[in-house]
Every structure is written in structure tokens, then in C-alpha cells.
Symmetry: C2
Subunit: 352 residues, 2 copies
């Protein structure tokens, strides 16, 4: 099969900076869509994969799974998309489509292993892995291409493809609704989307943070209240009062103070800490039939629903636009939580 | 208010053996039922409270919350019960009846604090706490008295009031049904009831145990399969295959191997470990949208449903009957997990 060489940015080892490199993209098959990438968000997972924090990274790693672009070519069997459409690609580019998870629109839990947008085996180009959106173009099966509402700013829509769906999916799956008291722990790339979504769903949104100084920003994003988790009196006053808590803390931590905030039968969902967690007290769950769960991005159908909701409610991410050449500095700043709230790469910079 | 002095067994300090003592029972009020206690189960919680393991014990502690007896007197407003009825009393004898938990038949989570059968403040006899079923009789509000199906053996029915409802409630609440693959971790007082209930509900029941020698007993109780949790190959073979896991381990432990057994969207419920748990890996919940929850006994309505189910399916506990005077030896044996599967005190021994 013929391939096309394109420009990309990637890391050649876990200690290397990201540098320009050339990668191959497959020719457009009958179910494929070729996308000229205009913007790509910078997700903390990109950094984890570059650094091999989770193991299993193959080099070069070309990260990027918050992809926005324009359709430049469609395969013979492609429906619903035409040249010129503004589209998105998130964390997955393929899955088996036959297992029980895929049948339930939960491709992220494909029992045969979803093909992730980067660092998964590439079924189409033997001996290589998938390369992500830090590149000028990508070819993706139509089932994994999302339609981006026209009213959304393209650059600011990019983070919806990962940070957006990661926070939308639990809020939607656990049926957060008008009047619910919803806590969002942590105000970063994920948390700031969680606040926007929970607000748009009509919930009473409480930003739960260690940093009182984040309160003003959280309120500007849609939080109705700020709860400083280091303040024991405040935590005590809120105990047993939350219908749902979205926990975006990206590192291992002690869940006990947060479990204590939940109502009877309520759930806290972890979306950030793909990490060893601290011990917790079993009694915290037992006394009140409380739940702790996890959630991973979302399925393709749900991602489209999220984008449509964003279109209706004019929701995008708060971003800082950078050039591709600034990526290594951006990684340092993400690692230091120094971004409000998501870097997005303007892919013009790679093409010029 | 006049009281009656009756015989009981209790501990005068956290290090003391249980010894005979006299306690007061209130006179029968208009909503009260007086019960002549025939049998009382021995629950691990009794020992924890005697030893003050959870803090907050007031002495003397008279334990016992798996009470079976005969109605000997009813108050003027008592409906549904008559002298001579075989009845049960479980872990609670009162609650506020007005909070949102009570309104939802979840008296165990009463926001104003349920009155537990022992070691709760006694509203009726100032300055004392409630005394449990290690005694000859008890006076209980009709709302907290359960009807025991006539076909059940009275002694063997006693543990249903705590071990029974503790395992029934999560199986019922999480809607375990025919064909589900259900794991029960731990084969003790709780676990053996979990196996019986899950089997009767039509589930494919897997006993998960560290002890291969428990396999035969588990199968006799209704398990269809035995999974030895120390066997990595067996654990690997079962990964991602369970619809529900009932975790009866009574001490803190590492949940990771069990979380790994759950299907996408499935739940493991802790019922035993009112204890600090080990750390776990957040990724275990995130990869598969898995849930860990807790469950505490059950509400009164649910307890009656459980007893009715037991009547229909002829389910009771496997017990070893003891005299009241054997209680200290029994405590040692419970602590050493040396009982199949529940001690029940024949209260004739205290009356003679």
C-alpha cells in the first residue's frame, strides 16, 4: 500500500525533547477520511506517553489526540462527511466493532483492544505504531471521525476531544441533572471542563480545590461555590451533601476526605489518577452505601453527543495557543500546572 | 417509667470476659412489642464492640443483634403482631423516621442517627445505652420488629438478622439476577450467606478464597466454582468476567486483584472491612468504568423482604448452637475463624 510522508513532531526516546520528524500516513481507503490538521491540543497523557510513565511506549512517539482539522479527501464508502467539513479525532482511531463493549458504544473498553490515536500498533502500516496529531495530516476510519459544530472556535474545540469527553462522559453516564450538587476536584485541563459542563447541565457546581486563589477563576468558569479542601471546617460543613463528585486529581491521593462529602448512594468518579492511590477507610464507603468509580474518555457516540451539546451551549476549552516549535516549553509548563487550561498547537506553524 | 430487671451477659470493660449481669428493660409502650428471646446469633461486630475496636463503646456492653424470639406482649397501637408470633430483631431498634434516608427505607443511614440494638443511647431509660440480645427479653418498637416465616428453624434463622441482610442487601440493590456471574470473596458468616443467596437468585456463583480447602464446603453451600485468589493463573483466567463481587473480607486488604476480575461497568461491594484498606491502582477503576462501593446491613423493609425470600427458598444460616456460658470461648473461635459459620446462643441456657 502506498503511503505519504508528512511532517510531524515526536520524541525519539523517553528522555528526548520533541523534534521534527517525518512519518508515513496510509493512502485513503474506502472507509477512510483524510484530515488536514489545523489544531491539536496538548494533553497530560501526551507527556506521560513521551516519558513512558505508563510503560509500553514505542519510539518515536508522535503524541496528540485532541485533533481538529478539515476533510481533504474521503473514501468511496464514506457517508456523512465531505471535503471541507470541520472534524475532530480524539483518543481512538479504531476498534474491533464486534465485542460487547463496542456493541454498547464503549469502544474505549474494546475487548480486543482499541487502536489509540498514538502509540498503538498500526494495522495499516506494518511494523509501525499509530502517530497522533502533532502532525500535518491524518487518515482515519470514518467511524472514528467526529463532526464539529460550526459555531465553535476550532482551536478552542480541540481539547473537547479528550479533556471534554473525559469529563462529559461521567457527568452524562451518572445522569447529573438540574439541581444536583456536584463537586469538581481540581482545576486543570479536565477540571475546568468539568465545571463548564456541570454548570451547563444545571447542577449546583462546587469547585473543590487545595488552592483558595483558584476560587475566582473557578467562579468565572461556572462554579457556584468554592470549597477549600485544606479547610477542615469547610469540609465538615459540606459533609454528606454531594450528589456526585468528579475527581480530576492527576496523581495518587487520599480519597477519605472526599468520600466523606458524598451523600448516601452517591458516587465519586476518578478520571485523572491512573496511578497508585493511597489507602482509604472501608467504613467511608460502607456507612452510606457510597461508590467510587473510574471513567475513561468516552465512546464515539457519546463524544459526538458531547460535541453537539457544546455546539448548543457554546462550550469550548479555555486555551493558550502555541506554535509546534514551543512544545517542549509547553510540556514543562503543563508539568508545573502552569496553563489556563490547555495548550493547543496551531498546526500552521508546522506547515510553514 | 417503670422498668423490669432481666438477666443478660455483657462485658464490663474492653478487656473483660463476658459475665452475667442484670439489665433493665422498659415497660411496653403503645407501639412496643415485648419479645422473649429464644436465640441470638454471635456476630463479629459484637466482638469489635466489646473490645472497643471501633471506639465509642460504653460499658457494660451487652451485645447481640441477631435476635429471634416470641412475642409475649404488644402495646395498644401495635398492628401486624400478636402474642406468640415468632419474630426477629436485627441491628436497629429505632430511627427518626423523618429524614430522607428513613423516608427511603434506609434507616441504617438515618441522618439523625439510627438507634442500634446495642451500644446506642437509650432514649427510653435515661443515662443508659441500648442492650442487645444476649439477654432473656427485649422491648422494641413495632416498626423494627420483623416477622419470621414459620417454616424456618428458629435458631438457624437468627443470623439472617445481620449476616443475612448484610449480604442480601447488596445482592438485591445491585440487582443480581439469573445468569450473572457473581463472586463471593471470603467464606465466613457473611460469605456463606452470600453464596446461598446468590445461588438462590440464579447466579453463577464463584467462591473466591485464599484457601483451596474451603472449596468443597463452598460448593456444598451453593457455589458453582471455586477461584483460589492466590493462584495467579486462575485469577488471570477469570479477569474481566464478573458481573458483581460481594467482598466479605473483614480486614483491610489490597483490592487490585479483585477489581481486575470485574467486567466493564461492574461493581464490587465491601461489606466486611470497616477498616483501613490498602492503596489500590486508580487505573483499575478507570480502565473499565468499574465501581467499588460499600453496603451496611439493610433497611427494615428490605430485611423483611429477605426473610420472606428465605421462607420461600428455605434458606437459613449454617450454625453451631452454644450455651450463653460458652460465649467467651466462642469469641476466641470467631476471632480465629473457627466456626461454620455462625454461633447461635440458645437462650434457654441463660434462663435456667
Amino acid at each position: 500500500m502506498s503511503t505519504t510522508t508528512i511532517k510531524a513532531y515526536g520524541a525519539k526516546s523517553k528522555t528526548a525533547d520533541l523534534t521534527p520528524l517525518d512519518i508515513e500516513r496510509r493512502a485513503v481507503g474506502k472507509d477512510d477520511i483524510k484530515i488536514d490538521i489545523t489544531y491539536c491540543g496538548v494533553c497530560h497523557s501526551d507527556i506521560h506517553t513521551v516519558r513512558n510513565d505508563w510503560g509500553g511506549s514505542s519510539y518515536p512517539v508522535v503524541p496528540g489526540h485532541e485533533i481538529i482539522g478539515h476533510v481533504t479527501e474521503v473514501g468511496a464508502d464514506v457517508k456523512n462527511f465531505s471535503v471541507g467539513d470541520v472534524v475532530g479525532v480524539g483518543c481512538m482511531v479504531d476498534s474491533c466493532q464486534t465485542c460487547s463493549s463496542c456493541q454498547k458504544d464503549l469502544e474505549q473498553f474494546c475487548e480486543n483492544g482499541a487502536t489509540f490515536t498514538y502509540n498503538s500498533p498500526n494495522k495499516h502500516i506494518e511494523g509501525t505504531q499509530t502517530y497522533g496529531g502533532y502532525s500535518t495530516s491524518v487518515v482515519v476510519d470514518q467511524k472514528f471521525v467526529l463532526s464539529v459544530p460550526k459555531n465553535l472556535d476550532e482551536a478552542a474545540a480541540a481539547p473537547l476531544l479528550c479533556a471534554g469527553i473525559t469529563t462529559w462522559s461521567p457527568l452524562s453516564h451518572w445522569n447529573v441533572k438540574k439541581g444536583d450538587k456536584v463537586g469538581v476536584i481540581g482545576l486543570g485541563g479536565l477540571g475546568h471542563m468539568g465545571v463548564k459542563f456541570a454548570n451547563a447541565l444545571g447542577a449546583h457546581v462546587v469547585m473543590i480545590t487545595t488552592s483558595p486563589e483558584k476560587g475566582k477563576d473557578a467562579k468565572a468558569l461556572g462554579a457556584h461555590e468554592v470549597l477549600v479542601s485544606k479547610n477542615d471546617d469547610e469540609m465538615e460543613a459540606h459533609q454528606g451533601s454531594f450528589d456526585f463528585i468528579l475527581n480530576t486529581i492527576p496523581v495518587g491521593h487520599n480519597m477519605d476526605p472526599y468520600i466523606n462529602l458524598l451523600k448516601v448512594d452517591a458516587t465519586m468518579v476518578l478520571v485523572g489518577a491512573v496511578e497508585p492511590m493511597d489507602g482509604f477507610h472501608g467504613g467511608g464507603l460502607i456507612m452510606g452505601r457510597k461508590h467510587v468509580a473510574g471513567s475513561l474518555i468516552g465512546g464515539i457516540k457519546e463524544t459526538q453527543e458531547m460535541l453537539d451539546f457544546c455546539g448548543e451551549h457554546d462550550i469550548t476549552s479555555d486555551i493558550e495557543l502555541i506554535d509546534m516549535q514551543d512544545i517542549n516549553t509547553a510540556y514543562e509548563r503543563v508539568t508545573n500546572s502552569d496553563v489556563k487550561y490547555r495548550f493547543v498547537i496551531d498546526m500552521k506553524s508546522l506547515k510553514s
